[in-house]
Symmetry: C2
Subunit: 232 residues, 2 copies
C-alpha cells in the first residue's frame, strides 16, 4: 500500500559511507562492537594505544566479517570517525578523552564505559565526580555530541561468531536528538539489537551502574544477560 | 514422567497462608501491587496513615478481585504481614520505617521506593546518604530482612483490570537468599511477571534510579515500559 500521508516519522537511518571509529578497539567490548558493525556493512576504524595491534585486530575482523575494518592509533581513529565509540577501561577514560578534545570536535562520541569496581562480593558502581562516564566525556569534550549507549551488551556474545542475533535492547541517552537517533539506527543494524531512547545524560549513571546487576544475574543464572524494554 | 533424581532445585514457592502487608497501600503503586497479589490468592493487609482510608481501599480491592484484602494503619499492617511491602513516597520513607523498627522485626521487608526528583526536563535520581532507599531501610531496620524489588512495575498497568498479564521482570535484590527467593516467588504469582535475582543491596541505587530512565522511555514512546532480562 502506498500512503501519501505517512502517520509516523521515517525511521532514522545510518548515512551511506558513515565511518565508525572504536577507541579501545582491541579490548573485548570494542572488538565485539566493531565486529558487529563491520558485519552490518559499516566502515570501521579500530583505535588502540598501539597502532600495530589495532591493525592486526582489524585484519582479523575484516577477514572474519568480510567488512571494511582498518586500524590506527586512538588519535588517528578519532579523526577518521564520524561516530566514535569509546570502549576503553574506566581507568584510562578521562586521560584519553582529555587528550583528544580537538580530534573529536564535531563527532558523535558514543560512550559505553561502565565505571565499576570488583571485590569478593562481585561488581559494584564506582562514584564518578561528574556523575557518570558519559557526563565526564561531555565535560571533557564540549565540542562533541556525546551519547551514552551499548553498556549492557555482552562482549562474549558480540565476539561469538556462532551468535547470529544479539538479543538485546540498547539504551541510548543524550541531549542531542539527531545524535541519539543516529546511534539508535546504528544499534538497529545489528541483527536482534534495537536502540531505545532512554533519557538525558544526567540519567546515565544508573544505566552504566546497572552493568553490576547484570554481572550478578550472569553469576546466579550462568547467563549472558541483556535487557529488553517492554511496551516499546 | 516421574523422575527420582531431579536435576534442578525445586522452584521456590509462596507458603500457604502467607500474609503480605503493603505500607502506603492506598497510593497507586501499593494499591496496584495489592490488587495483583490479592487476585493471585495471597492474603493482603493494606496499610495507610489513615486506617479508615486503608479499609475503604481494601473493600474495593476485595470486591474487585474476590481476594482477602483488609485495611489497617501502617503499624497494624506491619505487624500483620509476613512480607511487608514498602510503597510509600520517598519523602516519608525514613520517618515511617524508623518508627516501625520493632513492628517489622523478623519480617521480610520489600522496599520498592524510587528516590526521584522531577523538574522541567523530567525525572532524575536523588542522592541518598545511605546509597539507596533499600540500604536506608536496611540501616533503619537491622532486625528485618530487607529486599529491594518491584521498582519498575507500572502502577497504571497494575491497576488496570483490563490488563490480565503484566509483561515484565522484577529485579529482586538482597543479602538473604531465602528472602530474595520468597520475593521472586511472590512476583511469579502475578501472570506475566517473573522475579529475577539481580544482586546485593549495594547495587540497589541504580535499580531504583533506572525508574527515571523508564519515565523518559514512557514520554518518548507513549508507553508503559517495563524490563525483561534476556538469556535467563
Amino acid at each position: 500500500m502506498t500512503d501519501a500521508q505517512p502517520t509516523t516519522a521515517p525511521e532514522p537511518t545510518v548515512p551511506e559511507g558513515l565511518t565508525v571509529a572504536v577507541l579501545g578497539g582491541t579490548g573485548p567490548q570494542g572488538r565485539g562492537l566493531a565486529r558487529r558493525f563491520a558485519a552490518a556493512g559499516v566502515r570501521v576504524v579500530l583505535g588502540s594505544r598501539d597502532a600495530e595491534r589495532a591493525q592486526a585486530t582489524a585484519s582479523d575482523l575484516a577477514a572474519a566479517t568480510g567488512g571494511d575494518v582498518t586500524g590506527a592509533d586512538n588519535r588517528g581513529a578519532a579523526r577518521a570517525g564520524d561516530v566514535v565509540v569509546v570502549a576503553v577501561p574506566w581507568d584510562g577514560h578521562a586521560d584519553l578523552l582529555a587528550g583528544l578534545r580537538e580530534d573529536l570536535a564535531g563527532r558523535v562520541v558514543v560512550d559505553c564505559v561502565n565505571p565499576l569496581g570488583f571485590d569478593k562480593r562481585g561488581a559494584f558502581a564506582l562514584a564518578v565526580p561528574e556523575g557518570s562516564a558519559a557526563e565526564q566525556a561531555a565535560a571533557l569534550l564540549p565540542d562533541s555530541r556525546v551519547v551514552a549507549a551499548f553498556h549492557h551488551v555482552s562482549a562474549v556474545l558480540l565476539e561469538d561468531p556462532g551468535v547470529t542475533t544479539v538479543d538485546t535492547d540498547v539504551l541510548v541517552l543524550g541531549e542531542d536528538r539527531e545524535a541519539t537517533d543516529l546511534v539508535q539506527a546504528l544499534a538497529g543494524l545489528v541483527p536482534g539489537m534495537r536502540g531505545v531512547y532512554a533519557g538525558r545524560l544526567r540519567n546515565a549513571h544508573q544505566v552504566e551502574a546497572l552493568t553490576a546487576n547484570l554481572i550478578s544475574v550472569n553469576r546466579r543464572y550462568k547467563a549472558h544477560a541483556g535487557l529488553r524494554v517492554t511496551d516499546v
